[in-house]
Amino acid sequence: MSDLRTMARLVESGMRVALPVDYAGVSMAMTRPLIERGAGNLDLVCVPTGGLQVDMLIGAGLVRSVETSAMSLGEAGGAPRFNQAIKDGTILIRDATCPAIHAGLLAAQKGSPFVPMRGLIGTDVLKNRADWKVIDNPFEETADPIVLIPAIKPDVAIFHVPLADRHGNVWIGRRRELAAMAYASAMTLVTAERIVDESLLTDEITAAGTLPALYVTQVAEARHGARPYGLWGEYPADTQELLRYAREARTAEGFSAYMQTSAEAA
């Protein structure tokens, strides 16, 4: 088992980092250790959308680019540091669409250079993605354009789960995008509410929802590690806290003050 700071040290400048959607198990517990660690020029991949954690990393100046299908704080509205960075042009945005991000991770999972995807033709999403390609479907005799999404191979995936075991197996339940992230990534760092002794693979019932240790680089315990986001089957999101952040982080100063006070509170 590891601790949060030890794990954060594995993240280096210029890495491509995959982070999950709000409700899937965001490792908010890793956000401050990552900011303390200070590895910058990160290329974030939101699987498939981003929120508070991404906004904080942007606010802390660690982010070079964001590939995402959306960025928001849900009920608390727009992501303030992201929106400001877009206006200022200080980060590169790679707008995607949810299934395209899943497709890129799937290609990496399969060891394939790309996978095809329907839709997208005629969108400005496609028009702004020079890294995607359109070919003519070779299985059709008449013209049939189809988009190819290249493999997304993150250097590291970071997420939070309810349960892990001492062997490094982690229980992801039906949030299988977490497995997809781990398959695609060179390293996977996991925080967990609880760490148990007995292997999650021993029992077929828990094994069905388990990501094997083979894909997990390090695990650290972190109670309420997703807060203020919720964790499925564990606790709900703290909407008031999200609203407070949304309000305070409207300015760079407000963001700094928020990070300061909530660091002291922690």
């Binding site: 498939p48 959306a70 005629g122 400005d124 354009p145």
Partner: protein
């Protein structure tokens, strides 16, 4: 019984637009579409008709997906989702939807969350209902600043889905794929054609005297205010409570 609230007319209109679907997906923060889908489900059940499945995204209770957040898109690609709802910061007269922002991309002056799954789902879900309550010229524009998802596609582009209707707080439009444009089908009670024309930044077909959007029958209204509101309050407690309160406030006036 209190007369139908404007939102109840929207919910009943959505139930009508969904008639015949087997499976409808609804966004996590879309209580009115969800209520429409739940109303249809209740109506079909009382008729003894084929059941209607509803997937509410992001909800733990109403999530019968078990393969992560990719399953909705896979399911749509397999043709197993008949209807879906899209909003849009901007929607133009050709059915193009902008979920990204206003101004010169990528440095948008107003930035919205982003395209989510629209750039795919709009292509593969047969019955996409565009739903936006705010009916103003800043939403309904002549040309969107960014195409998250296009209303129509050129011949040869694989497309099994697309816009079917556009529902706002003022009226209901149908979408004509051949003409790549909208037609005003009906005006909600309390609104008129001139008002809608002024609030819409694009041109659309319409009858000289468009009909009024039908108001629900007492039977439908009582189903909606009873069972459907109960179901709705499980997933959208605040919205359901608000609707209940409005109904209570109205009741004395109406009776």
């Amino acid at each position: 019984m209190a007369p139908a609230l404007p939102r109840e007319i929207l919910i009943c209109t959505i139930a009508r637009l969904l008639d015949g679907v087997r499976h409808v997906a609804v966004g996590a923060s879309s209580p009115i579409p969800a209520a429409g889908a739940m109303l249809l489900r209740a109506l079909k059940e009382s008729e003894g008709a084929a059941p209607v499945k509803i997937s509410i995204l992001g909800s733990v209770e109403h999530n019968f997906f078990t393969n992560g957040s990719t399953e909705l898109f896979d399911c749509a690609g397999q043709g197993r989702i008949d209807a879906f709802f899209l909003g849009g910061g901007q929607i133009d007269g050709h059915g193009n939807v902008n979920l990204v922002g206003v101004g010169d991309y990528p440095r948008s002056s107003v930035r919205w969350p982003g395209s989510f799954g629209a750039a795919y789902l709009y292509f593969v879900v047969p019955r996409v209902i565009l739903f936006r309550e705010e009916h103003t010229p800043r939403v309904f524009v002549d040309k969107v600043d960014f195409i998250s998802a296009p209303g129509t596609s050129e011949p040869g582009v694989y497309r099994t889905g697309g816009p079917k209707a556009l529902l706002t707080s003022k009226g209901l439009f149908s979408f004509d794929k051949e003409k790549a444009g909208f037609r005003l089908e009906s005006v909600h009670p309390g609104h008129d054609l001139t008002e809608i024309q002024e609030a819409t930044g694009f041109g659309f077909d319409h009858d000289a005297k468009p009909s009024q959007t039908p108001t629900p029958s007492p039977e439908v209204l009582s189903l909606l205010r009873g069972r459907v509101l109960d179901e709705l309050s499980e997933t959208y407690p605040e919205f359901a409570a608000q609707m209940r309160q409005t109904l209570t406030e109205r009741e004395p006036v109406a009776s």
